[in-house]
Symmetry: C2
Subunit: 193 residues, 2 copies
């Protein structure tokens, strides 16, 4: 079975090595990891972003499941390209698993990064906007998409020394997904391609 | 025809007023705007985040198209919940339109917010990760999803005084979507619900 490895890992300087490490761990569990860096195009391509978009969607359609890296990327939340791919997979009925390499929940992270201000007798976020208060790793659409399949977004207990390369939470999410796929192969095989 | 109005607008203190303004503009074009704030649940609900998730997905399935607010939200990029919904809609074959209420492209925004550092003779982003260089409003999965339908992510030419409430780019994206829906009603009606 094929697992699409979604995440901003493709933007790392050592993306190729990360992709190889992740696909090797998939192979150890009898799964084929699909890493979207394979959809990069050569310099000089006339429409590179369109080609990568179409390559990623074709790879998602081939996949039996998605494992997403939801580690906050240049802000308080997950990479929006990864979130897009998670939504695409959920609409196609594919099982999804995820991890986020920071401890704690979205609310605490937003309060820390955005800051609180006092308005009258109340404390409000400095940007004047609300934050979800559900104890989830990120926006509820992401966390509940994983929970709907019976899994949970795996998070470390403490801050990691290298959250972009530590694969402990990845391994735990992959093990969850492998067990899920083993438990219901027929349903996965009948999913739309 | 029904248009799902995706975006972090639901987190604004005056979310209800924004939703009413957006749905009124849809109605003026003969469209029914679906604003996900309607899926909020009462205090004390036993599983509020699951209920909102399911309510949003049911509303997305009912919609004939999606109009997404991709304005950067607490970081350099769009709200990941909105990105998830955009991917969900694309997988279902629904037309999607979008706007982002900041001028310029992702690369310039990332360089400005993350900062550049010199490594040897080269300038690199301070977080050591790459950024897409395609002149797009945000991550290519979002921008190309809109472009694949023949539309573009509408952006203002200059910074807006109130990017969370200015509806100029929303109106332009809505007009694009209305024209697209008028041009192919049969195809839209046959999309999966």
């Amino acid at each position: 079975m094929k697992v699409y490895l979604a995440g901003p890992d493709v933007f790392l300087a050592d993306a190729r090595a990360i992709g190889e490490a992740k696909t090797a761990r998939c192979a150890a569990l009898g799964l084929e990891g699909l890493f979207p860096l394979a959809n990069e195009v050569a310099a000089g391509h006339p429409a590179p972003s369109r080609a990568i978009f179409e390559g990623n969607l074709a790879m998602l359609r081939r996949a039996d499941a998605v494992l997403a890296n939801l580690t906050p990327f240049r802000g308080v939340s997950a990479d929006p390209g990864t979130a897009f791919e998670l939504g695409f997979a959920v609409a196609m009925g594919k099982p999804v698993a995820a991890y986020s390499n920071v401890p704690g929940d979205l609310k605490a992270r937003v309060q820390s990064e955005i800051g609180l201000v006092q308005v009258g007798a109340e404390l409000m976020l400095a940007d004047g906007m609300a934050v979800e208060d559900f104890g989830l790793a990120d926006n509820l659409m992401l966390s509940e998409a994983v929970a709907a399949g019976g899994l949970e977004v795996v998070r470390p207990l403490y801050p990691l020394a290298d959250p972009w390369r530590d694969l402990g939470a990845f391994d735990a999410a992959l093990a969850q997904l492998a067990a899920l796929l083993a438990a219901r192969p027929a349903r996965v095989r009948s999913a739309p391609r």
